[in-house]
Symmetry: C2
Subunit: 121 residues, 2 copies
């Protein structure tokens, strides 16, 4: 695999809340996604989920606080912690999480993208 | 742990080739470092090493090619692959790697920073 230009990868898709895989490292996948509005409340029982925002504004609603992320800011949602991502229009962010991580955790929602449908770009 | 502003973390230190830990996720550490000039040839037998450049220009010299990384570009050095990082003055980059990863792999050099000396900021 060659080098990866993150902005060029963001230009390859427009779907929201549909993570695209851009790299793998030590069994973890690096994914990028675009978001707008609210996803759903969910948690990952066994996986921490690292977020870095590249454009826009991402709020990670937790049950006891809101984490507000501007470009250049990151946060790790610890395993087992319920969260609900909310994004300003055209927010771009990157995630690092184990390959085993389900999109919306144990929750099966109409917005859920199954692992087998998460594509490499 | 709260949110992390990556630029604010870079402002906290000036040492070169001295990774600082800013987060942990799934047993992997997120580190940031500044570099200038050439580090040393080394490899990590058991760990992939993910690099994202934030400022400047980082060349990852491999035995068979050079990977040239500008801001917003990333690369994963696969486990076992010899590499030598070379940076323009005041280059800033982020790494994600397992907590077990030794700074310069099996090589003990005068530039090596021992794991116990890699500090959280």
């Amino acid at each position: 695999m060659g080098k990866i230009n993150i902005q060029e990868k963001f230009a390859l898709f427009s779907e929201e809340w549909t993570p695209k895989i851009i790299a793998e490292s030590n069994g973890q996948l690096v994914k990028i996604a675009k978001g707008s509005g609210e996803l759903v409340w969910h948690k990952h029982d066994n996986e921490d989920e690292l977020f870095i925002v590249f454009k826009g504004h991402l709020t990670l609603k937790l049950r006891d606080q809101n984490i507000e992320l501007a470009p250049g800011e990151m946060y790790v949602v610890p395993k087992g912690v319920e969260h609900c991502p909310v994004a300003e229009p055209d927010t771009h962010f990157l995630m690092v999480e184990p390959a085993s991580t389900a999109h919306t955790g144990e929750l099966q929602s109409e917005v859920t993208v199954a692992a087998e449908d998460q594509e490499w770009i």
